[in-house]
Amino acid sequence: MSEMTPAASDKARVARTLGWSKTPVLPTIIVVIVMAFIPLVWRNDYIISLLVLMLLFSIMTQSWNLTIGMCGIWNFGQLAIIAIGGYATGLLTIKLGWSAWLALPGGIVAGGLAAVIMVLPSIRLRGIYASMLTFAFAEVVRLLIIADSSGFTGGPFGLTGVKGLFDNLSSSWSLRAYFWLSLVLCAAVMLLVHRMMNAPFGMGLVSLRESIRFSIGMGINRRVQFIMATLISGLIAGLAGALYATFYHGITPSFMGLGPMGLLVIMVVVGGLGTVRGPIIGAFAVTILSELLRDTVMWRLVVQGALLLLVLAFWPAGIDGLLSRSLAKLRVWMNVGQQEGEGGPQVAVATAEGSAVTATAVTASADTGMAVSAPVEPVVKSPEPPVVAPAPAAPAKPAKKVGKFKAWLNADQLQADGQKPGGAKGDKKT
């Protein structure tokens, strides 16, 4: 800290007071390195495959949490996105004979595209309607795959014979390689999401979740934000699906059913909806719990469901919320009698740290951000300036389709400016 130039440390301090936490790169790397030794020490293939499953679940829940928790888009079709990533990878390796490493990016891209296609129509919709639309999208994908009798996707029996990423290794080493790969990817995804949520872009997402009108008033572009968030979430989901399909050498339509969806919902909520660490904690906790209940398979769902109801009733912020709250209490307890001036706000911010910032933090940062943070980037910015400039732009008619699309994207801003939107007509007037 002492080597830092005063300006840099000042910037960091202001950023932290405003609730922007630093990306925990070093701690994450340490945890990853420590965990990487697990398969070398604990030579139990079953345990390792379980760990791989947990890591895959973590990536899936992370991708889902990005839309449902962080942006508040009621997306209940995420499993279809994950499955599309898996199916795309599988089909590329089987039908075109690509190697799994080449097919993996294909799965990622397919996931991103599918997510954007799914969410694009539901941007206009409010909460439950959006959930129904995404749910219906997932059902259509599932039913179409089940109804497909041409043998292209394998129909109800699923796709089999997908190439693995490490087929040239022996099976136990391939398992370990998968563990290391998914460990690194899971950590990378977590860092990415953390970085994103502690940048103007992520702040804009959280602010949109809390109040759409306020955010539009602050100049946040709702459509661009939602589409970008969905795209990133879809890319991550595609990655998870591709890893899943190559790891198990296949994927079935039952992966998109209500059962797995319930499982993922339980993971996300138990871990902590809308937090960065929550989905990972939830995935690990729920998988461990269901492994403990392995002998009584049918009791598993009942117990997991009861867990979710308890968490919702007593700690709605999930395990992560519980952890960060007790951590904050611990800090208060440790800092008793020290630095009255600085200790106060620091601790108050600590509760919001890591959990992607509650409503108060957002408004606080938005309110004070303008006044205090000259060194920090202004909190909110719209990625593009409004298309229709005030006065001097004489040829202000975007005749091309691109121009129309841009106008549609910026419609909220135009409305907020008191001008008629170009493309969208259905939005209610604010």
């Binding site: 129509p121 259509v140 049918m298 009733a313 259905g426």
Partner: protein
């Protein structure tokens, strides 16, 4: 011509069942602001109760209908107290989303519990009335289908009478329209909540028992009905009673026509595709209101 008439008849019958199923969803959404994902599970539990009473104990099917409906009503009250009541009025959560999630999980728990109790195998159940009625040519209608339509219409009529004439029904409407004002006028909101859930359970149970002879009674018997119910509710505009009835028959007819002329495997995908287009054109459904107006 004859296939068309056959398709129309089955569309009307299914529309009637969807109407009473979805009416439960609509009531609960209008009154409690919860999209009750456990509505399908109510029907499933009702089907099992009817199966126990008729096939195991040998009671006549009509008794099965009543017992199934009552059991489902009980399950509705249970659902309210374990999954919705703990969330009502909390400031620290997004009520609609958490209630959606908690009822979804409750539905999954119910089907797991049913598997524990009865096993995963399908159970067949006797129809209310056997035999078929010949209309003309090759067109026949199963008496069961007629019974389904009659029971459904009795339920809908009874419901509308209850909502507009009785004290309990009026208090449901009052809570749905203006929660705070209703409370100020002395309507016991807590009781209205669980009564509404019981009513939703009753309707779901009746729908479940009526559907049971057409399909089977199985632990996943609630999945398809809840999907259809959601579709109907969204097309109708959530919380609109009039819209629910229109939308139920429209969707029943579309589904029957697609199943007859394209193939039954395609009925659902085509239906959902149409719904997606419809939602893009009209985001709040047939009779939905953008603002928070209810019922």
């Amino acid at each position: 011509m004859e296939t068309l008439v056959q398709a129309l008849i089955s569309g009307l019958v299914f529309g009637a069942i969807y109407a009473i199923m979805t009416m439960g969803l609509t009531l609960v959404y209008g009154c409690l602001r919860t999209l009750n994902m456990a509505q399908g599970a109510f029907g499933m539990v009702g089907g099992y109760a009817a199966w126990v009473i008729t096939t195991d104990m040998g009671a006549p099917p009509i008794v099965g209908l009543f017992v199934g409906a009552l059991a489902a009503a009980g399950i509705g009250i249970l659902t309210h107290f374990i999954s919705i009541k703990p969330l009502v009025g909390r400031k620290d959560i997004d009520f609609e989303m958490t209630a959606y999630i908690s009822t979804l999980v409750v539905a999954i728990m119910f089907s797991a519990a049913i598997i524990l109790l009865f096993g995963a195998r399908n159970k067949a159940i006797d129809p209310l009335i056997e035999g078929r009625l010949k209309v003309f040519g090759t067109v026949t209608v199963a008496w069961q289908q007629i019974a389904v339509a009659v029971v459904a219409f009795i339920c809908l009529g009874g419901l509308s009478l209850m909502l507009s004439r009785t004290r309990q029904g009026l208090s449901i409407m009052a809570v749905a329209q203006q929660f705070d004002a209703a409370k100020l006028m002395g309507v016991p909101a807590g009781r209205v909540y669980w009564v509404t859930m019981a009513l939703a359970g009753l309707l779901g149970g009746i729908a479940g028992v009526l559907l049971a002879p057409l399909y089977f009674v199985s632990p996943s018997a609630g999945d398809l009905p809840i999907l259809k119910g959601l579709t109907v509710a969204v097309v109708a505009g959530l919380g609109s009673i009039r819209g629910t009835i229109y939308a139920a028959f429209i969707i029943g007819l579309i589904e029957a026509l697609v199943a007859t002329y394209v193939g039954s495997l395609w009925a659902l995908p085509v239906l959902f595709g149409l719904i997606v287009v419809f939602m893009i054109v009209r985001p709040y459904g047939l009779f939905g209101k953008p603002e928070e107006e209810r019922l």
